[in-house]
């Protein structure tokens, strides 16, 4: 307990947190009124008054259906789809005499199809249910009375229960903090799941209850909390705690929200106030938007188009039918007497031919329903589920370290993955691992550190490739550095010159000593000593600060203790002896984004006053003393080098202060600190400004904001594929730019358009306090910067130079306003890379929406935190990174992957495949149904449009379900135009999806045309060949049954072989399904024909007896097959040879065996790289180009 208390003091000393004690004012007067009626009887949830209130339990439900509502609700969902509704109508009509076929044969496929979809729904809901069970059965310690706490399931918690939550546990409901393991009853909360912020939030219990920090103290605890009703606002809370006769105010400061996690605190006690669906996080949860892919939307249009065709055909048919029916009675005499027009039903009544025609129209609608693939939707759903399984199973996207495979959470966006035009990426946790590594430093003008960054590694890798003989300068020591895994987190520094105390032998040893000492002192971190091992770890505000302290420690300056007024280190003196030193800490001038530096003022053991300062180069160099600029040139050079390598740099400097100056400063500083007004910050800044001058430069540090593995390579590939990558980050502009360099999104020589609102004039305006004037000025400046940017864009387009756009959050606010956003977007689209910094979650979502709606292209958002949720939901596809903790992003994403680099495979391989599969599948689906449907229509011409189908009822209804569906599913699940290796080798292939060449209207219409053509050939060949003459040796003539079976055989052959012809990938599965489909037809024909004639009706023994022994049947099948496929075959032979598409080119390359010829492949690939492309390949190109030019200039 003592340790904890001490630590608390330290925190309050350093942070000076404004932990606002709640007070009764403002909203608290509302308590008890409307909207503030909730009363909680703490520790007494079973009492009479509490039971009157009947608050909901803590069971959280995420399922869509319950057992009772499943059938009505999911059926309703199913029939909301136009196509399904149409089939339902057909099924109902099938029971009337209108029906051209028997009811059962028509209903069965519908039942199968709807049943399959509902089964899928049920399974999905069952999974959600299991997840619910898991969450609801988590356990927490709950007070059982008499001071005994026992494990209880979350769902059994009631309002008013006292719970004890331990370190790293999630809060089971919304709680009011009563006390914690800390003396002052504070606790740290991680709210990453709620708002995505990684920093810990501090909460503090009311004073009145802070002493209740043991189990037993709750034995007799009774209190009443009155507070607001459940609402969705995360940041407000109003309530009061009635303890005895005293009232204590409650504010958000005491509220612990479900979904957040207790950190750095051993345990807390809290009282449950909101449970289950009343909790703020559940109240906040919105129905995730249901997303549909563009391909599917277009598919709907085709379905409607087919509906239109269907209606037109039906109208034509019914008109002709009406005319012919009317003519059945001529002046009271029957013409077609064999139809008995004198004694007829309404359906064929010549006297009321118009009515008959209208009814016939309905019949025709049913008959031609085979134009609309009933099984299309369900097949697509099955296919997509299987595709997602493949995505989930892909070992190349499996992250072994965290045991996390890729997970496609929604399967209906698979093909959209193949059409992504713009990727909007979060930075922290997505591109980077959110860990900093001290990797290089420049001390006294000498650069230390051999570590190489991901970027350098990538560039060096390029160097090894045959195209790259010209680049020489980067990464001299590539070979020496054998991937030594950093043994210490945050430290990846290798340089024997200063490690292990060797720095003593360096020329500027004294500077190095000061440098390292500064690293060890100038920070706000707190050491934590592990009592067992004695090892020290540090808790720091930011990971880069931790990296500095760790680096200092590793280099011999170990910071081990911080008290209120002192910092203690083990350090080396110049003679190499390890000594223990303590520095008297006087002031900390904290870091702020405007100051961009921090300083500490301290007195060393000799009694000298020192100011140690570290900060960004932009502010530091101007503060150097004249005599402190010894190494400026060198250092600047190094900093530039580091920055280009994507490192985050800080300049370190110090000065000695006179006693008098300090006294004067301290007075002013204390005064400024105690001011309670809006300009307190400014006053502090002003005072600090005065003392942070005349600094003496020591050197610079370079910290790597560690990129995730493979990020530069991945970005490079994606860029080569022609995908635009935008980075939307909440980080500072400098950091964002650094990462831009690290990922090769930015490079030297790229023109940067920076839109920044933090100009001095704007600041001045803001100080003046006139809000409208400020806004106007901001907007004007943003507008101006945008138009300047456009100018630059135009000029650089002529010189074919790449431009990068960097926007800060404030400017973004104005740039996203309605009248500006178009021109902003125009600028942004023209730029090779776009980086938005300091953007709020909402802005991220807005930018995403802007890109999505204005350009109409497919956007993919990728992020890991809750602050990305808006963006993920807004984008066409949201990809969540599941690598780290915090599942919020994953839960709202469509696809979760463990690492950013898997995006490459997800898009270029799976996305491309899925897009190709689904689009060919849909085209083929329409083809096969049109081919089938039109034979039915053509037949009607010969059957006076009476609605008699040429095929047996069961042939009709099993067409979609049986004989032709499996090959399509095989196509949709297994087809590959190009192997995954080649997909990755030729990223440009991805353009096929972006340009939507495989699902363009032209292509769709071509397939429709092909379908009509096939139907025409099949039908007319059949009726010509099977005319009135005998069709076999025995003199038998063909009849309806024989013709139907023959024509159907032809259709089955043609559509299946058309499939075989249009794919270029056959595994045994394809063979099995395609040829199996045909064999299945014969088997069915025989089996069905062998059944009792009652069942088989017109198909009775038609194959065995009539067709099979007839030579003409077989010859006709062969002829029709070849004749129907010949046009397509000729077309594709010519197209592939003379106008190949990109995937076909790659197929050529593969079949020629040239895919392993690197130079040839490069030639094919190279053409894709534009000057505006980003990524290290382009960077390399640009570099080699400019060096070549330089070489020419020199000559």
């Amino acid at each position: 307990m003592a340790g904890a208390r001490r630590r608390k003091q330290q925190f309050s000393r350093i942070h000076a947190f404004s932990c606002g004690k709640a007070s009764f004012k403002g909203d608290h007067s509302l308590i008890g009124g409307p909207g503030f009626s909730r009363v909680i009887y703490c520790n007494d949830p079973e009492c009479f008054e509490a039971s009157l209130r009947n608050y909901c339990d803590n069971y959280v439900r995420s399922t869509k259906y319950t057992l009772a509502t499943f059938f009505p609700k999911s059926l309703f969902e199913q029939f909301k789809r136009a196509a399904n509704f149409y089939f339902l109508i057909c099924a109902i009509l099938a029971f009337t005499p209108l029906s051209p076929y028997s009811a059962v044969s028509n209903v069965l496929p519908l039942v199968v199809v709807i049943g399959a979809t509902m089964g899928k729904e049920a399974i999905e809901d069952w999974r959600r249910y299991k997840q619910d069970i898991e969450v609801n059965n988590r356990e927490v310690k709950m007070h059982q009375g008499d001071g005994v706490f026992e494990h209880t399931k979350w769902m059994d918690l009631k309002v008013g229960d006292i719970v004890k939550v331990e370190k790293d546990e999630f809060f089971p409901a919304d709680l009011i903090l009563l006390s914690s393991s800390y003396e002052e009853a504070i606790c740290y909360v991680e709210t990453m799941n709620l708002d995505g912020e990684t920093n810990l939030k501090l909460k503090q219990a009311p004073d009145a209850t802070s002493s209740l920090n043991e189990d037993s103290s709750f034995q007799n605890f009774k209190a009443i909390i009155r507070c607001e009703d459940p609402n969705a606002n995360l940041y407000s809370f109003v309530g009061s705690l009635e303890l005895g006769n005293e009232q204590h105010p409650l504010s958000p400061q005491q509220l612990l929200l479900r979904g957040s996690k207790l950190r750095n605190t051993d345990y807390i006690y809290g009282v449950v106030i909101f449970t289950g669906r009343d909790t703020k996080v559940v109240q906040n949860s919105t129905e995730p938007p249901s997303k549909r892919s563009k391909v599917e939307k277009r598919m709907d249009k085709i379905v409607y188009f087919l509906f239109a065709v269907l209606v037109v055909l039906s109208i034509i048919g019914s008109i002709f039918f009406g005319i012919e029916t009317r003519e059945d009675l001529e002046n009271g005499r029957m013409t077609r007497w064999y139809l008995r027009p004198d004694d007829t039903t309404i359906y064929y009544n010549p006297k009321r031919a118009a009515v008959a025609a209208i009814l016939q129209f309905l019949t025709a609608l049913m008959l031609y329903s085979y134009l609309i693939p009933i099984s299309l939707y369900v097949s697509i759903e099955i296919v997509k589920v299987l595709q997602s399984i493949f995505i989930n199973q892909d070992l190349h996207m499996y992250y072994e370290e965290a045991d996390k495979p890729a997970r496609a959470r929604t399967s209906n966006l698979n093909e959209e993955l193949g059409q992504v035009d713009t990727i909007l990426s979060d930075k922290t946790g997505t591109l980077t691992c959110n860990s900093m590594e001290f990797i290089k430093c420049s001390i006294a003008g000498t650069s230390y550190g051999h570590g190489i960054t991901e970027v350098e590694r990538a560039l060096a890798w390029r160097k090894g490739s045959p195209m790259a003989q010209e680049v020489a300068e980067v990464g001299d020591q590539v070979k020496e550095i054998k991937e030594e895994k950093p043994s210490v987190k945050g430290f990846n520094f290798v340089d024997e010159r200063i490690m292990n105390g060797n720095w003593l032998n360096e020329p500027h040893a004294d500077v190095i000593q000061k440098f390292l000492r500064l690293l060890a002192i100038c920070h706000t971190a707190i050491p934590e000593v592990d009592e067992e091992t004695g090892r020290i770890s540090y808790e720091a505000e930011s990971p880069d600060e931790a990296a500095f302290v760790v680096a200092a420690k590793e280099l011999g300056f170990e910071f081990y203790e911080r008290t209120q007024t002192s910092i203690s280190l083990y350090e080396f003196d110049l003679s190499g002896k390890k000594v223990e030193r303590s520095y008297n800490l006087l002031n900390i001038l904290e870091f702020s984004s405007s100051r961009k530096r921090m300083s500490v003022i301290l007195r060393n053991e000799e009694g000298k006053l020192l100011l140690l300062c570290k900060g960004a180069d932009s502010v530091m160099f101007e503060r150097l003393a004249k005599n402190g600029q010894e190494f400026v040139e060198k250092t600047k050079e190094h900093i530039e080098e580091y920055a280009d390598a994507g490192l985050r740099t800080l300049v370190l400097a110090y000065r000695e202060i006179d006693e008098e100056e300090y006294v004067e400063f301290n007075e002013k500083f204390t005064e400024a600190k105690n001011v309670v007004s809006a300009d307190r910050e400014e006053m502090i800044e002003e005072v600090a400004e005065k003392i942070e001058r005349d600094l003496i430069l020591l050197g610079a540090t370079a910290v790597e904001d560690k990129l995730q593995n493979g990020v530069p390579e991945c970005i490079d590939k994606l860029a080569q594929a022609g995908i635009k990558i935008w980075v939307l980050t909440g980080d500072k502009m400098e950091t964002a730019i650094n990462i831009g360099f690290a990922c090769s999104l930015l490079r030297q020589g790229m023109k940067q358009v920076v839109i920044n609102s933090e100009t001095p004039e704007n600041k001045a305006l803001e100080k003046a306090g006139d809000k409208t004037a400020t806004a106007v000025a901001y907007k004007a400046s943003v507008l101006q910067q945008i138009s300047e940017g456009k100018q630059l864009l135009i000029s650089s387009n002529e010189n074919s130079e790449a431009v990068a756009l960097i926007v800060d959050g404030k400017s973004l606010t104005y740039a996203l306003e309605d009248d500006v956003k178009d021109s902003f977007l125009e600028l942004a689209i023209g730029c090779a890379s776009v980086i938005c910094c300091r953007s709020s979650p909402k802005q991220k979502a807005l930018v995403t929406r802007l890109v999505k709606t204005k350009t109409g292209s497919t956007t993919l958002a990728i992020g890991d935190g809750a602050n990305d949720v808006g963006m993920l939901q807004e984008a066409d596809i949201g990809v969540g990174i599941s690598g780290v903790e915090g599942m919020q992003a994953v839960m709202s994403s469509d696809i979760a992957i463990a690492q950013f680099r898997y995006l490459e495979r997800l898009l270029l391989v799976h996305g491309h495949w899925c897009y190709r599969r689904i689009s060919s599948m849909i085209c083929y689906f329409f083809y096969k149904n049109i081919a089938f449907g039109f034979t039915l229509f053509f037949y009607e011409i010969y059957a006076s449009f009476s609605g008699q189908a040429v095929y047996n009822d069961w042939f009709l209804s099993l067409y979609n379900v049986f004989f032709t569906s499996l090959p399509v599913i095989a196509l949709g699940v297994f087809d590959q135009d190009v192997s995954s290796r080649l997909c990755l080798k030729f990223p440009l292939l991805y353009q096929e999806g972006i340009q939507n060449v495989l699902f363009s209207w032209l292509r769709i219409l071509a397939w429709v045309f092909n379908g009509v053509l096939s139907a025409t050939i099949i039908f007319f060949f059949c009726i010509q060949a099977m005319k009135y003459q005998a069709f076999r040796k025995g003199g038998e003539v063909s009849d309806l049954e024989v013709l139907g079976a023959t024509m159907y055989t032809c259709v089955v052959w043609v559509v299946n072989c058309q499939m075989a012809l249009s794919i270029t990938y056959f595994t045994y599965i394809q063979h099995l399904f395609i040829w199996g489909g045909i064999i299945l037809w014969y088997i069915f024909l025989m089996a069905y024909g062998a059944m009792d004639p009652d069942i088989s009706t017109t198909a009775y023994e038609v194959f065995i007896e009539a067709c099979a022994p007839a030579g003409s049947y077989w010859l006709l099948t062969l002829l029709v097959l070849i004749a129907s496929l010949l046009p397509y075959f000729a077309y594709s032979a010519i197209q592939i040879r003379f106008f190949p598409m990109y995937h076909q080119m790659i197929q050529w390359i593969r079949s020629d065996g040239q895919s392993d010829d690197p130079e040839y492949c490069n030639m094919v690939r190279q053409r894709s790289i534009r000057h505006t492309t980003v990524g290290y390949t382009a960077r390399f190109e640009a570099k080699s180009k400019s060096s070549k030019e330089r070489g020419e200039d020199n000559r």
């Binding site: 340009q995 060949a1025 076999r1032 003199g1035 040879r1137």
Partner: protein, 336 residues
């Protein structure tokens, strides 16, 4: 043993692995010019001979067609054929002469052909009861037979429009004064006779209504032996159709003249249908129809032409396969 098991287990595992990783061994044919030309040539070389053989078969068939619907109406009645055919008092017999122009080898098939007769009309096709045909009067639910279901409250067997409109022209053939023997057995499909038309079902109450459609049936003969009816009940697919009437078991020589005595009973005049009598031999492909042969030859020759055209184009326009500059998007969007 255990080793083998393990071995098998491992292969299954790798197969599964390859499956889940979507890298199953696959055949990936590419339509190289070589293949294209080969396939075209192959198709040409297959289909032209097949077409020629088919044509030969078709040409080997001798067919005599005689349209008699107009000729068999006496001149006086030609203005109003309908009242002629509906007037039972006028004798309907008629003689036709058919000249055999080429030697016809037995069996010679006799067909009657009707044109513009919609046996495939939905109302017509549905108007029958398969169960009644098989089980006779025992089967009562004959609502599908509307409007020829009942007469005077008694069921009609066989019911329905199809049976009611049974074709009833009859033919006898005389060559050189001697009657040619016409075998009228086995003209229907065996499956129909055995399984669709009852052996113990006799016509009942048939053609007793006010409106008489077509032919009558001998109530003594069970349906399974009423082959004319069985043939007629197999509805035709198209509005022009032939139905088998019988077979002549004797060869006919060229220049034989056959006298056909027929009863012109059936009314096709109301709807302008034609009636024809056809004598035909058959080949292995059936009757005379050049379509298959012509189509085969045409497909075959167009394949050959395509092969030649493709070869020429291939030789003329050479360019590397991997030249991306021809891609549509290289031309537009990416060039900027």
């Amino acid at each position: 043993m255990a080793d083998m098991n393990r071995e098998r287990h491992r292969t299954r595992e790798t197969a599964f692995y390859l499956f889940t990783q979507q890298s199953l061994p696959a055949c990936k044919p590419v339509l190289t010019p070589g293949w294209v030309i080969t396939i075209f040539l192959f198709m040409g070389l297959i289909f032209i001979p097949v077409g020629l053989i088919t044509l030969r078969a078709s040409h080997s068939v001798v067919e005599i067609v005689d349209r008699y619907d107009t000729e068999c109406v006496p001149e006086a009645f030609r203005i109003d054929k309908i009242s002629y055919i509906q007037d039972d008092s006028i004798p309907k017999n008629c003689s036709r002469f058919m000249k055999v122009h080429k030697y016809m080898k037995a069996p010679i098939y006799i067909y009657y052909q009707l044109d513009n007769y919609y046996q495939n009309h939905r109302r017509y096709v549905k108007s029958r009861s398969d169960k009644q045909l098989l089980h006779g009067q025992k089967y009562h639910d004959t609502s599908s037979c509307q409007p020829v279901e009942l007469n005077n409250g008694q069921p009609i067997v066989p019911c329905g429009l199809i049976a009611w409109s049974l074709f009833n022209d009859s033919f006898t053939f005389i060559r050189e004064r001697a009657e040619l023997k016409v075998n009228r057995k086995n003209i229907a499909w065996k499956s129909d006779r055995d399984h669709k038309f009852g052996k113990n079902v006799h016509p009942f109450n048939f053609q007793n209504g006010t409106l008489i459609g077509g032919g009558k049936l001998n109530p003594k003969v069970p349906l399974s032996d009423q082959e004319d009816l069985i043939v007629w009940m197999r509805t035709s697919a198209l509005p022009s159709f032939r139905k088998l009437y019988g077979r002549i078991k004797e060869d006919l020589d060229a220049d034989d003249v056959i006298v056909v005595n027929l009863m012109n009973n059936y009314n096709t005049y109301s709807f302008g249908g034609k009636k024809k009598l056809v004598l035909s031999t058959s080949s292995w492909l059936g009757g005379k129809n050049d379509f298959l042969g012509h189509a085969c030859v045409i497909i075959g020759s167009s394949s050959l032409i395509l092969a030649i055209v493709f070869t020429l184009l291939h030789l003329k326009y050479r360019r590397p396969y991997g030249d991306t500059s021809y891609l549509p998007w290289s031309r537009k969007s990416l060039s900027g």
